[in-house]
Structure formats: structure tokens, C-alpha cells
Amino acid sequence: MADGAPVIEARELGKRFGEREALRGVSFGAAPGELLAVIGPNGAGKTTLLSILAGILEPDSGTVSVPGALGWVPQTAGLYRRLTVAENLRLFARLERVEDLDAAVERMIEQTGLGERRDDLVGTLSGGNQQRVNIAIGLLARPAVLLLDEPSTGLDPRQRERLWEFVLGLAGAGTTVIYSTHHLLEAERYGDRLLVLADGERVFEGTAEQLHAAVPAADARDFEAAFVSFLRERGH
């Protein structure tokens, strides 16, 4: 777990889509090297929050401050399937104006483990491998903050393990990682802190242990049961 002043801070974020309020008064901060897991039921506002942090969506209210570079890995891979792995990395490296383009591309190819498939069209890769390229693009600029929207979607267990080894290494090197996930085990195991959203509101911010302690012992058989009980008690 990392300490220190927040490297990314959000205050009273609000976002509405027509009649539906996707986010309402959400505030939080994350320190350098911290792994912050954003969890919640479907429609809680997780992707909306990450999209606002990434600059894809403009909030209707509130502010976000990110002093340094910010990398973003969308939930659905944002790739050009008729370009090769290397071409995708090179294109986005150019768009991000990464210094030493070739080194950055080679670094990402190595980290994704797709060296042998660097010249294959992305559209021919499996879903898991496409996700690896997707994540690699988000890391090209060596961001101070990395946003991962459900990064383990489509990955098999071995790939998931490799992914989290990689992410933990980034956090250890000082990158702040904010990730959303439906896999509560990932949140509990890897997250330094949890940010729980429900119906657009922040309902909890703290460690997994603190969430466990917030529910009756009878409902806290495991983290998932504790999480469900926690939400139910608060009417979500």
C-alpha cells in the first residue's frame, strides 16, 4: 500500500444521461503506487467514473485533478483489428507522442508476451490476447495513473495471474492503478482500498477488512457475501 498525497483526486463528480443520474457527488483520491478497486453492481457508475477520469466524458458537476500522464484501458478493447499488434502500438505511441517510439513499442510487445505475433493482425488474435494489446496501449506513455476498466475480462486464469503480476509491478514502481472489476476476489486480493459505488453514489471507501467489519459476522462468510450484505443493508 502506498502513502502520500493523492496523485489523482475527484471532488463531487456528477453525471446525468437524460433522466438517469449515473453519478452523484462522488469524491475520492488515490495516492502514488496505490491500487484502488472500484466495485459495485451493474449500472453503479463504474465505467462512467473511469470515463470521466480518463477525459472521455465531461462531468456535469465536480472536478478531477490529475497532475501527470494518465493511461486508460477501456472495457471493450479499443484497437484497429486490420492493423498488426506492432502497428497498433506504434500508431497509439505516435498519437500519445511517446518519446523513443521504437523502445516503447518493443517494451510493450515484450510485456504483453506477444513477440511472436507482433506482425499478426489484431483481428486474428484471441480475445485474451487482444485484451493484452489493449492494456499495452494504455501503458505506452508510462502514465502516473493507469485506469483499467474490467481488465481481466476475456482472460483465462493464467493470463489473469500474469496480468496482475504486471499490474502489481507497476504499482510497486509508483504507478497509481484504479481498476474496476466484477471479480470481487480481484478487488479483495489486489486492491489496497475499495471504492464501492451503487446507483451512482459512493457508498464505501476503505479496505476490504473495513468492509467486512461493517456487516454482521453472520453475513461475512466471505468477501462476496459481506459485499452483498453491505449493499442490501443500505438499500441497494
Binding site: 478493447a77 479499443g78 486490420r82
Partner: protein, 453 residues
Amino acid sequence: MRWLLLKDLQILRRSPLIVGLLIAYPVALGLLIGFALSTDNSKPRVAFLNEVDPSEQFQIGTGEGEIDRDQARDELCSRVECVDASSREEAAQMVEDGEVIAALILPEDLLDKLRSLASLNPEQPVVEVLVNQDDPVKASLVDDRIQALITEANLILAQQISDQAATYLDLLITGGNFSLPLLGEIDILGLDRAAEILRAVDDELPADSPARDSLRQVTRFAQLAGDNLDLALPLLGAISQPIEVDKQVIAGNTAELDDFAIAVAVTVTLMFVTVLLVAGSLALEREENAFARVTRGLVGPGGLLAEKVALGVVASVAVTLLLLVALTALVSIDWGRLPLILLAILGGGAAFAAFGAAIGGSAREVRASSLLAFMVSLPIAFLSLVPSGTVSPGVFDVIEVVRALFPFDPALDAMQGALDAAGPDIWLPLVHLAAIVAAYGLLARLALRRFAG
């Protein structure tokens, strides 16, 4: 932005079907249109059956104006492409099969009836025309062409008849030699000479001769007749064509029909290739989920739009030049006007690209954008080709407003002006196209606001 453009060109290169269509379509279209333009299709094919006896001749007067069977054929077939038929049945079959648009049959009694026009029992000569009216457009064309043909034949005959009549009149007035069958050459006195002779006789008569008064009456008649019949000569010349047509062009241009057809072909190609390519390419950004990633960086939605317009312009220049090169093999194109042609392509390409971007941004899916592009572009192109005078003024005003809102009309005008020195001015359409680029660029930019959602 150039990296995004290179990326799109790279993707195109890896889409062999799209590239094939982009190359094959304009070449095929160019060859088709060029072939159609290069063949002499101004003469319709007409089956021709001449049942007149080969030995017969129709003489107008003393033999100077003669029409025989071959002359009749030559005169009629100078205006249509005659396909000789050996029988009425064969001619009818050709019409039924669509091999010819009509059959023209000169009956065997044609010359007899032409001769009868100068007799006391005139009979009107009739030529038979067989037509196939399964197609109302073709039927109208046939009617117009055959009617024009017969009218011209009548004019020729009338001119020859009036020329011969003028010869007779001149002979009557001035006298001369006249040749008649079986009788040979005879000397015609003529009214002028008759008047001279009568005056000479009058001079030799005694002053108190009772015949002098009568003789002077005859002399005066001969003189008056000769003077006044002289005036009838120009009138005879006008009988064959009493009304002349003085056509003056007060609006529009006098561009050749071929150049207009080329301009239409080029503009249609430009429209379809550019609009479809840009609309699909922009929608693809969303389908690939790359739009948000690309525009959150340093490019931005405006930069992405500019890149798509550039892509459209690059494709339009390449495809249109390819089409013109294909056309050059079959029709004449003034390549000395290449700078203007390029300018017209650039203006039209940019406008169609902006239009395509607005469609792609609105549809958000590749298939939907392709469908929308076709549904909007095709009717607009048709409307742009509707000539004034063929619909009511109110309807045409509406059509003109609709035309002005879309790139096809100004792009066509610019292309016409570029291809043909006698075509419309190129600069005003280019200004119009620039305004269209701005308008549709703005619409596309507004559409992109909800693109990532």
C-alpha cells in the same frame, strides 16, 4: 493527423474488396460511358424497306429535279442508320425483336402518287412506319425521330418542287428553250419578249389603225405580267419553309453533350466513392471502439474529422483521375485543363467527404452509414439532373433549394466548368462547395458529441 491518415490508407490496403471496388468501379463506369459516347448513337437504327421499282424515277419538271429509288434511300438514311430489310415481315420482326427502333417502308406506289400531286387527281403519298411501343420512352423517341425524318423529306421535296416551279416561272417571264418528252426542244417566247414584239408591231402600225388599242392592251398585259410574276419568285422559295427558326441562347451554356455526360459520370463516381468511404471510415472508429482512445489524446474530434475529410479527398483524386484516364481511351478529354480539373475534384471531394462524415457521425455504424449514404445521395443526384421546364415552377423552386444544400449540384457545375471551356464558370461552384464543407463539417462535429456513447 497524418498518422491517422496513413492508418486508414493501411486499413484500406488490407481490404482488397474495398480497394478492388474503388479501382474497378470507376474504370468500369468510365469504359461504359466512354464506349457509349464514342459510338455514334445519335442516329437511331431503323429498318428500311424500299418497295419502289428500281427502274422508276420521279421527275420534277424537265429532269433537273429527279428522285429515284437510290436517291430516296440515301436522303432518308443520311439521318438514321438504315438496316435494309428484304420484306415487310422481316422489317416487322426486326422491330419486334428490338433490333431497330422502327421500320420505314416505302411502298411501291410512292412515286406514282408523288407524280399525281401535279395532276388533276392528286393522291397523297404514304410511307409506312412500324413501331414497337412496349417502352413509352422509346415510343416517344421513335415518334419524334420518324416525324422529324418525314418532315425533312417533305421539306426537301417541297424545295425541289418550288425550285422547279420557279424555273417554269422564269421561263414564262424571260423565255428560253424548254424540253418536253417526245416533242424535244421548243422555244418559249416569254412575256418580256412578247411585250417587246408587241411594242415593235405597235410602232409600225398606222396611227389611225383600229388594232392599235387592242394591241396596246395586250402589250400592257404582257409587261405587267412579266413584272409582277418576277415578284413571285422569292415567294415560291419561301413556300417550302415559310417559317424559319432563329434560336438564341440567353441562359446556360453551350457545352457539348459528351462533356456533360462525362461530368455527370465523374461526379456520380466522386459522390459514391467519397461519401461511402468517409462515412464508413468514421463509423468504423466507433465500431472498433477506437474513437474515444484516439480523440482523448492530442488529435481531438476535430482533428479526426479533418483526417477523414483528407482521406476522402485523397481517395476522390485517385479514383476520379483513374476514371478520366479510362475515359481518355474512348473519348477526347482536354488534359490541358488538368489544373482546373484537379481543383474541381478537390472541391467536390472535400464537400462529399464532409457530407460523408456527417452521415458517418450520425449513423455511428458502418452498415447503417452505408445505407444512409445511398438513400440520401441517390435521390439528390437524380434531383440535380431534373431540367427546368419539365416540372412546375413551384416544384422546381423546391428542387433548387434541396440541390443547393447538397454537394452534387455544385460539384457537377465545377466539373463541367473544368472539363469544358464552354461550360459554366468554375469559381462560384467552388465557393458553394467550400460553404458546404463548413456546414457539413459542423454537423459532423456536433454528431461526434454523442459518438462515444
